[in-house]
């Protein structure tokens, strides 16, 4: 068992996310996180899928993703040098008594405070999974009011890119491509 990070380029069409999500459920893949967003090309979105599994299972997911007509390319980022990041927003209880302590912690983690109120702070922290987890553990004693994580996103380093050459956007479909996620 290991953490597998897959990156998928998908056509930016209605229902793509539903197809991928359905695949996870239908073939019983256990997904840790999934994040989706636009790319530098309007007609493509990129998904980062993280799953804890053996490599046979990860292989199986790659093959099944490829069966979806809207999935253009899938890479197993395991097999190449890549940068991985996740962001979290954490609302931490902080009164005038202990606010300084929380701020100190944020400094150490290079997290940013993006909102301050009488009872709490909202902290934005970016990094690899472990960093986020360490940070939340340390602020937990102050009281975490609520938090949200983006799920991991990842890119190959340097020349390692997901192939999208050969992909020609479809003219008459462009109209149907607005805000599909």
């Amino acid at each position: 068992m290991a953490k597998h990070i897959l990156a998928a380029l998908v056509e930016n069409r209605p229902g793509v996310l539903a197809r991928v999500a359905n695949l996870f459920r239908r073939r019983s893949f256990n997904i840790d996180s999934l994040s989706v967003g636009r790319t530098q090309r309007d007609e493509m979105s990129r998904m980062t899928i993280v799953m804890e599994s053996d490599s046979a299972e990860a292989d199986r997911l790659v093959k099944n993703l490829y069966k979806l007509v809207d999935v253009v390319h899938v890479d197993h980022l395991h097999s190449q040098p890549s940068v991985v990041r996740e962001m979290a927003l954490v609302k931490v209880k902080a009164s005038s008594d202990n606010r300084r302590e929380v701020i100190q912690l944020c400094d150490i983690f290079r997290a940013r405070i993006i909102d301050v109120s009488a009872e709490s702070l909202v902290v934005e922290i970016t990094g690899e999974e472990e960093k986020l987890e360490n940070f939340t553990e340390l602020v937990r004693p102050f009281g975490i009011v609520e938090m949200v994580r983006t799920g991991m996103i990842a890119l190959g380093r340097g020349g390692h890119t997901l192939k999208d050459e050969g992909f020609k956007p479809n003219r008459s479909r462009a109209a149907a491509r607005r805000n599909v996620l």
Binding site: G15, V69, N170
Partner: protein, 636 residues
């Protein structure tokens, strides 16, 4: 299913359609696209949301519409049509209940990789999401049971979507595609330009040839094997690789086992063809698989009905797996060489360099297993000495199929339903040609038989078509008798009428101590029923009547015919690998000696002074072998 562009081109010519732009409604564009895809028949059922397209159909007499009596029938007919020729079958339905009624047929086609395109009407775009009358999210519902599906949101994309739908349905690993078209898109008008450039889909490119290194690895395994066996599946006939399969087997002297849908991949009269494997496959075939040192799996997917217990499946063998769908490789069974490609291409690659190799010792072993199976055979020519387990004067379902095979010269296209009769057909009707057995294998859909047979006959009017159905499954879609009559479809219906949901009864007998809960049926008089539709019928209750009845049916060339074969109620399909058991751990029919021995033991037990529990007393002590007690007698 490789020359998709030529099909379109040909259709273009035949349809005599010009490439000049004309203004058409969405509904007319649908019809134009169907023509260009070479469609001649559409199976369907009208309703509000699809009405514009039904109206447009009046302008396209080249598109023959078949009014089914239920949308399930439409999707099964499209499926049967597709399976009989490899052409894409088309079903059409309205939104909501029309669309949901298609679902069973779509799932059936998906599991057996059958190319169909379903066109459904949808509520107008503006009403989508408002729970409008007869609105249902059919693309959502069919997402996991289609190869791909589309909700068309503008008339501009309609031609392209239609073209892609057919392309995706018929290429690669074929499968069902659904196109959902809102009513307003059908009504809108637009300039119709049919795209002529080749279809390019970034995320879809079916593989073709194998990599050289994999071919080398496969050849090496074949060269060094001593007990090889080919497992041939549906993929062979779908790829049209039948000749290559025979050549490979002959050149390398490798026996062939068939999956249920693999029947027809090679003639079952071919000396290297062993017959069907799996749960109700030949015992000698399953033994051969378990004892093999090399499995060459071609266009099959190691379904649990053919592997039995995976942990003990063909333990001592290396495995080569060729399939067009990469996700099938290492899905259920881990293989040594996995090759993704078109079977025809890959087999030709292998054929170039495969070496002739002697397998005499291996054939001798298989022959021994086969001799043992023959001893246990219950279906024998009427004038040969019978197996003592055959109840005197009773008609067996298995005999009906064996005789039907004989009296149709083994040349019919047979379409089955699901149950015991389906397995008897697989065991006793020996097919020679590809696409000549049409059956729901993956989904096991009762109710498939009659509508699929209608579709098959309309696809191959030159061929004799028999629907072999159980009394249970027939009643699931028997409303399609009316369709067969209205369309004058000359399909011959053979009901194997055992008064039971026979296959389920068999499981209850073996695994639930003969508690026949909800499996006996009070049936209508099927002959009277068919006669109400004006269908000629015969009832057969004895083996001696089969030939005449079959001939009488065959003599009818107008509409459908029906034979009600009233057969032994509690017959068993032997051999049987219980679900999850090892593949060679089969429940067998006893040999005649074993049978007599058991009969004597029972007689002795019956005379013993100890009081008998009612269950252990055979119900008919003096009567010849009552199959009712077979299960308990053979230690299940």
């Amino acid at each position: 299913m490789s020359d998709e562009t030529t099909a379109t081109d040909r259709a273009n010519e035949e349809a005599g359609t010009s490439t000049d732009a004309v203004v058409l409604t969405g509904a007319e564009i649908v019809c134009e696209c169907l023509l260009r895809e070479g469609v001649d028949i559409v199976f369907g059922y009208p309703g509000g949301a699809i009405l514009p397209t039904y109206d447009a159909l009046t302008k396209y007499p080249q598109l023959h519409h078949v009014l089914t009596r239920h949308e399930q029938g439409a999707s099964h007919m499209a499926d049967g049509y597709a399976r009989a020729t490899g052409k894409v079958g088309v079903a059409m339905a309205t939104s909501g209940p029309g669309a949901t009624n298609l679902v069973t047929g779509i799932a059936t086609a998906m599991m057996d990789s059958s190319p169909i395109v379903c066109i459904t009407g949808q509520v107008p775009t503006g009403a989508i999401g408002s729970d409008a009358f007869q609105e249902t999210d059919v693309t959502g519902i069919t997402l996991p049971i289609t190869k791909h599906n589309y909700l068309v949101t503008s008339i501009e994309e309609l031609p392209e979507v239609m073209r892609e739908a057919f392309h995706i349905a018929r290429t690669g690993r074929p499968g069902p595609v659904l196109v959902d078209i809102p009513k307003d898109v059908q009504i809108q008008e637009a300039e119709f330009v049919y795209p002529t450039e080749p279809i390019e889909l970034a995320g879809y490119s079916p593989p073709r040839a194998a990599r050289a290194r994999q071919v080398d690895a496969a050849l090496e395994l074949i060269r060094t094997s001593k007990r090889p066996i080919i497992l041939a599946g549906h993929g062979i006939s779908m790829a049209g690789a039948n000749r290559e399969l025979a050549q490979l087997a002959e050149k390398a002297q490798i026996p062939i086992a068939l999956t249920l849908l693999g029947k027809g991949a090679i003639s079952e009269h071919h000396p290297l063809c062993l017959g069907m494997m799996g749960m109700h496959g030949g015992a000698e075939v399953n033994h051969a698989i378990q004892q093999a040192d090399l499995l060459i799996a071609l266009g099959m997917r190691f379904d649990d009905r053919v592997t039995g217990n995976l942990a003990t499946y063909a333990r001592d063998s290396r495995k080569i797996h060729v399939d067009i769908d990469p996700s099938e490789i290492n899905k259920n069974v881990n293989v040594d060489v996995g090759i993704v490609g078109d079977l025809g291409e890959v087999l030709r690659q292998l054929l170039k360099r495969v070496e002739r190799r002697p397998n005499e010792a291996w054939f001798d072993r298989i022959a021994e297993w086969r001799a043992d199976s023959e001893l246990r055979e219950i279906v024998r020519p009427a004038d040969a000495p019978q197996h003592p387990a055959v109840p005197e004067g009773k008609l067996l379902g298995a005999q009906v199929i064996r005789d039907l095979f004989e009296f149709t010269d083994g040349e019919a296209i047979t379409v089955t339903d699901v149950g015991q009769h389906q397995m008897w057909e697989a065991q006793y009707y020996h097919h020679e040609r590809p696409h000549s057995l049409i059956t729901s294998g993956g989904l096991g859909t009762m109710g498939f038989g009659l509508p699929a047979a209608i579709g098959a006959k309309m696809s191959r009017p030159d061929q004799e078509v028999w629907a072999i159905v159980g009394d249970g499954g027939f009643q699931m879609t028997m409303m399609e008798l009316a369709t067969a009559v209205q369309e004058q479809v000359n399909v011959h219906i053979a009901i194997i009428n055992n008064g039971f949901l026979g296959m389920v009864r068999q499981w209850q007998e073996f695994f639930y101590e003969e508690r026949y809960n909800q499996t006996p049926m009070v049936n209508p008089d099927f002959c009277k029923l068919a006669e109400a539709y004006g269908i000629p019928t015969v009832r057969v209750t004895e083996r001696g009547q089969i030939e005449e009845a079959v001939n009488a049916s065959r003599a009818q060339t107008g509409g459908p015919t029906l034979i009600d074969f009233v057969v032994e109620k509690e017959e068993i399909v032997f051999p049987m690998v219980p679900a999850g058991a090892d593949l060679d751990d089969m429940i067998r029919r006893p040999t005649p000696e074993e049978f007599e021995q058991q009969r004597r033991e029972r007689a002795v037990a019956a005379k013993a002074p100890e009081p008998q529990t009612p269950e252990s007393t055979p119900p008919e002590t003096e009567a010849p072998a009552a199959p009712a007690a077979l299960g308990s007698r053979f230690g299940v």
